[in-house]
Each structure stands twice: as structure tokens, then as C-alpha cells.
């Protein structure tokens, strides 16, 4: 028995205890409130405070994903490269669409799509998947959904390297003057992905269908984006310039993918490899139009982000019970 005699006696009053605070009580302290409703503002500041955790989560997620695999991160390049190869084969040689350097066209669209789709899809299952820590450790849970987007961003980085290699090999260049347009496009994709991811991750806790549903939705969504086909030449021509095209453009990924294609593929008008007159494949918009669309999406994305945080906050209270 190692009981300190003084500490266990009943009659010694607390304040007579030999206890000397050594100045730690003076250091700055953050006050945290745990209650049923936490305001969106408080959530954002919590998330901001946990940014190091975000980095760590992304790092460990990638580490775990490629643990014990010989090729490691190379796999993150191999699988999109495979998709690319298949589409390239099908549309470049079998169903000839006549777009020269089709692989670059395809890749420039796929890049942003993969970033968005990969992030949102893994975010959907992330709270359920990480139930172990969600039930035991306190931290802003939104970080988990954001980290899925972060992991996807790392893959985006590696895929960009592959794209650069392709461009070097095929000797094509991006439209250097428009290159800055990629920044708002990237920001908009990130914010949208984070917003969707946060909301879906919370819904999925209560309704596990979400995970499967999102897979189906994503497949449909992919074909609703002008990635394997050209916007101007196909969609615009078929749907006409008015309402239907406008509807099509409501798909938030469309303007982003168009921006990416405009910048990276850089040829709005092409000379088809199948012969014939030049064809307009990308919209003849000015840089300002692209910028305006991307900025609008960014604003919408930020709005959705707040909505997502609000939804998340409503559902979060029951996570520990439902998991």
C-alpha cells in the first residue's frame, strides 16, 4: 500500500495540503464549450486550430494506404493512368473523335474530376470508417472529411506530375497567359469538395446508403461532365445555346473542367485528325468569363461549406451513439 497518509485522511482540510502550484496556472487558456449546439463560427475556429491534425491525418492516411506495398504512391498514378489509357484507346482510335493529343484533353479534365470525386467519395465513408477515434478522442470531426479532400489533393499533385510528363513527351504547352485561372478553379473545387464531403460524411453515419448512393451518383456525374467529350462541339451543339446548356452548366464541375481544359489543353479550336474543317471544341469565352464562373463557384462553395457545417453540427451529437 503506497497511500500517502495525509492524502487519504478525512480530517485534513484541502487547503492545508502540501500543494504548490508552479506557475502553470498563469499560462493562457482556451475555453471550450461542449454543448448540444455549437455555432458555425466556433466550428470554423476549432477547425482552424486543428490544422496540424489535418496535415497529420492526410500523412497517416497515405501512409496506411500504401503500407506494405512495394510501389506505394506510384499506385496513385497508375490507376488514373489506366483510366486514361482506356479512354484514350477507345476515343482516340476506336470511336475516333478527332481531337488531336486527346490524351492531354482527357487528362486536363480528369485531373480536377479525380480530385473532386476521390475526395468526396472517401469523405462520405470517413466518419464511419474512423469510428474508433470518433468515439474516443475529441477533435473537430469535420477535419476527417476535410482530410479526405486533403489526401485527394496529394494524389492530384502526383497526377499533375504525370500530366506534365505527358505534355513534355507530346510536346504540347499550356496556355501560359491563362495559367493563373487554375488557382480559382482549384480553390472552387476544394471548397465544393469539402462542403459535399462534410455533409455526406455526417449523413452517412445515420444512413449508410449514402456511401453506395454516392458511388452511383458519381458515375452518372462523371458522364455529365465534359471530360471524355467536348463541351462546345457536343453539348452546346446538341442542347442549343439557351436553357438546356444553361442547365448543363449548373453542374458545378463543368465550368471547372472547362477552365482546366482551356488552360492545359489550350486549343479551343482544333484541326480534327479525322480531316475536315477546324472545329470549336472549347467555348470561345474570354479569360474573364472563366474567372467569373470560377469565382461564382467559389462563392457558392463557401456558402455550401457553411450549410454543410450547420448540417454536420445538427447530426454530430448522435455520432457516438450511431457508430
Amino acid at each position: 500500500m503506497t497511500t500517502d497518509a495525509a492524502a487519504s485522511s478525512l480530517s485534513v482540510p484541502d487547503d492545508e495540503r502540501p500543494r504548490a502550484p508552479r506557475g502553470v496556472n498563469d499560462r493562457p487558456k482556451v475555453t471550450r464549450v461542449v454543448s448540444a449546439q455549437v455555432s458555425v463560427g466556433a466550428r470554423i475556429s476549432e477547425i482552424w486550430r486543428s490544422r496540424e491534425l489535418l496535415v497529420n491525418l492526410v500523412r497517416t492516411e497515405i501512409k496506411v494506404k500504401y503500407k506494405n506495398s512495394a510501389l506505394g504512391l506510384v499506385w496513385s498514378m497508375i490507376s488514373p493512368a489506366m483510366t486514361l489509357a482506356i479512354f484514350w484507346l477507345v476515343f482516340g482510335f476506336i470511336l475516333k473523335n478527332g481531337i488531336p493529343n486527346f490524351v492531354i484533353f482527357l487528362f486536363s479534365g480528369l485531373l480536377f474530376w479525380n480530385f473532386f470525386q476521390g475526395g468526396v467519395q472517401s469523405a462520405t465513408g470517413v466518419i464511419v470508417g474512423r469510428a474508433g477515434i470518433v468515439k474516443k478522442v475529441a477533435f473537430p470531426r469535420e477535419i476527417l472529411a476535410i482530410s479526405s479532400m486533403g489526401t485527394s489533393a496529394v494524389f492530384l499533385f502526383f497526377q499533375t506530375i504525370v500530366l506534365i510528363l505527358f505534355m513534355a513527351v507530346l510536346q504540347t504547352a499550356p496556355d501560359w497567359s491563362l495559367l493563373p485561372l487554375l488557382i480559382p478553379a482549384l480553390l472552387a473545387t476544394t471548397v465544393l469538395g469539402v462542403a459535399f464531403g462534410i455533409a455526406l460524411s455526417a449523413w452517412n453515419v445515420h444512413l449508410r446508403d449514402m456511401q453506395h448512393l454516392i458511388e452511383v451518383v458519381m458515375t452518372a456525374w462523371f458522364w455529365a461532365c465534359p471530360i471524355v467529350y467536348s463541351f462546345w462541339n457536343t453539348v452546346h451543339k446538341t442542347l442549343g445555346p439557351k436553357h438546356l446548356t444553361f442547365l448543363y452548366l449548373l453542374n458545378p464541375m463543368t465550368p471547372i473542367i472547362l477552365t482546366s481544359q482551356r488552360v492545359l489543353y489550350a486549343h479551343p479550336v482544333i484541326q480534327p485528325t479525322t480531316g475536315g474543317p477546324p472545329v470549336q471544341i472549347l467555348p470561345p469565352w474570354s479569360a474573364w468569363t472563366y474567372l467569373g464562373m470560377d469565382m461564382a463557384l467559389l462563392v457558392v462553395g463557401i456558402g455550401l461549406f457553411f450549410v454543410a457545417l450547420w448540417i454536420f453540427g445538427r447530426l454530430e451529437g448522435n455520432f457516438a451513439e450511431e457508430l
Binding site: 497518509a5 487519504s8 500543494r19 508552479r22 454543448s35 496540424e52 477515434i133 474516443k136 475529441a138 444512413l207
Partner: protein
Amino acid sequence: MAEVAVSIEDVSKRFRLYHERGTSLKERLVNRKDVRYTDLWALDHVSFEVAEGETVGILGHNGSGKSTLLKCVCGVLQPTSGQVVVRGKLAGLLELGAGFQAELSGRDNIYLNGSMLGLSKAEVDEVYEDIVEFAELEQFIDNQVKFYSSGMYVRLGFAVAVNVDPDILVIDEVLAVGDERFQRKCLDRIRQFQEMGRTIIFVSHSPDQVRSVCDRAVVLNEGVLIGMGSPGEAVRTFRESLLEADEAEIAEQDANTVAAEEAGDDEVTAELPPHERPIRIGEVSVHYPGDDERPYLESRQPVQIHVGYVATEPIDGALFALEIYGPRGGLLVKTDTDILGEHFDVEAGEGEVIFSFDSWTFMDGAYTAAAGIRSRLGGMTYDWREGAAQFEVLYQGRASGLVNLPLEAMHRAKDIDQKELT
């Protein structure tokens, strides 16, 4: 009074227990109107404050809501109503090693866990060596955590939590695991924390651990705060609530026994239902000089334990047994009237058997007595009562340990001449 570190304000937590509730969309839609659930209030308007630098224990039996309360304090669960205000950095050990990722190495897990507790990489770098050293995992730190033994897991978890320098440390029944040496190390670290003026919220299965570590304790029973005060008081409240629960259970068992017998089960059972027992334990009380003035006896004072009985018929050769348990639950005394050479028969009516100790040579703590009545020959137990009486012992001196034996020290210098001779 120091500032408030943790303030629990009217916290309630409701758990909805659904009966086979579907989590798929189809089931939701099909069973939409037919939501069957029962509400369970794990916490019911609990309020108390923990001052800075204080160590508060939370006592309660299983399902009393203490873990739920801790989860609310840590922020893992959100209360249904009310709020918890936490001032300062909080590190919680809700379950040791929770939040570790099996696939990652110990090193990676330290960094991940550190950042979950709100530390920057640089801050973790600073304490990294201490963590590894405390956990005694130098050799294994680069191995994946999934290869760790449960003891290693526990050590790493505790090491991270105590080394990240929190203002408030929340510990949930974690000292029950790990070997004795590590437990001691943890307790030492907890003491060190206390001396540094940190706040600790401590949940333990062992009331005596609470008694030895905490300044104050609260008792929860079915989500309701039923007691708050000095550890001694709280432990008593806790024990009482346990006894009540036990009695309810015994009553239920008794009912079952009666039902079994009525069903034609003629086998003679040693444990008779209370109303059929020929002799039962009455009041058990503890007496010592000055017991009407002080709620505790001083070490080395004489003490008497009176075991009262109520007999409905004469008993030939009744045997009264006494057991006394120490503050840590260990058995200190086990004796009976037979061993003590006292043989007697009991007439119908009431009476008592008095066990007298000349001097209670044990030190501080709460001692619990259990009493029983058996037949001397047949081995039949008429009645047995755990926790029949409890008494506090106060030791005024400064020594520590378990036993307060007559002891003195003397000094004798060795004669120099003598030394030279030898």
C-alpha cells in the same frame, strides 16, 4: 478559491435505444411511422464544478453514467441539454490507446495523437523522448502498433496523455490495466501533476484509489448526482448506493427462490429466504471511545464490533463470523466465535455478539466489516452480510503504510576507539 477549470452545467444526456432500427434508406422509409425506441437518460441534470488544481473523483457503479459524463467533458459526446465549459487544454484517457491506428508505428501514432490533443509538431518533438521513455518502448517505437501487446498499448496511451502537458487530465478507469509497477508509475505521475497545480478528473472502479488520490469526489447513480464531498463521504454514499442495489437484487433472488420452492423443489438450500431463516443479522455497529463525537477512530484505539441478531427459534451452536477488509479491499481479519473459543447457543429473541480489539493497529482509511451467522456443526449459513459496517480510521502521525505497530528508533554512534581496534 481557485478559478473554475471545468464547469458542468445542468448536463443531461439522452440515449435513444431503438429496437431493431434500420439504418438503410429502405428500412427508414418502410418503417417510417413505426419508430419504436426507449429513452434512456444516462445523465440527468448533473451540475458541479471542478476548480483549478483540484483532483475530483467520479464514483458510480456500472451504468451510472460516469463514462458518459467524462465523454461529455472530453467533448466526444455532446450533451442533450446543458453544457460543459472547459478552461484549458484537456487530455483525456477515455480508454487507453484509443485513437491509435493499428497500421501505423508507435512513432507516427504519438504524433497523430499529439495533434489530436492540439499539439503542434514542434511541441510533440519536444516531449517525444519523454513519451517513449515513460512508455518504456524504446525498442518498439518503430513497430506497427498492431504488433504491440495490450500492456504496451496502455503504456503508450498513458505516456502520451500525461506528457503532452495538459491543464486538465481526464482519466477513466485506466489504472485498472497495466502491471503493478506501471500503475505505480502512473500514480506517481498523477501526484506530480497535482503538485504542479493541474486539474484532474479521475474515474476509478476502486473507491480506495479515489480516496487516496482525490481531493473531492462526486457519486453518480443512474445518471443522477447523489453525492458530492470529501472522498470519505463520497465513498460512503457510493457504498450505500451499492448496498441498496445489492439488496434489491437479493430481494429479487429471494423471490425467485421462493417461487422455485413453491414449484415443488424440495431440496434443502443453505441459503434460505430471509423470512424463513431462524436467525438473522440485526444491527451491526462499531464502537470506540469517543464514537459519539467523532466519525472516526484514531489508530491504536480499542474498537468493538457489535453484531446484533434476531432469532425466531432457539439455535444450538450458532457461530458468528467476522471479516474486516482494508482500504484497498484486502482481507485483514477473518475470524469467528469458534476460532476465538467462544461456544454458545442462542435462544429465541434478540441479542448481540461483541468482537473487541484491544488496539486497532492499522493506519488511515475506511475499513469494512462483513458479518455472518453459521451453524457450528452443519456448515449451514443462516445469514451473511457484506459491508455490514464501516468505520474510518485516522492516523495522526506522519508515517505511511498499512500498519501502525509500536515502534521506536534510536541512534548509536560507533565508538572510534573500538573502530580502530577492529
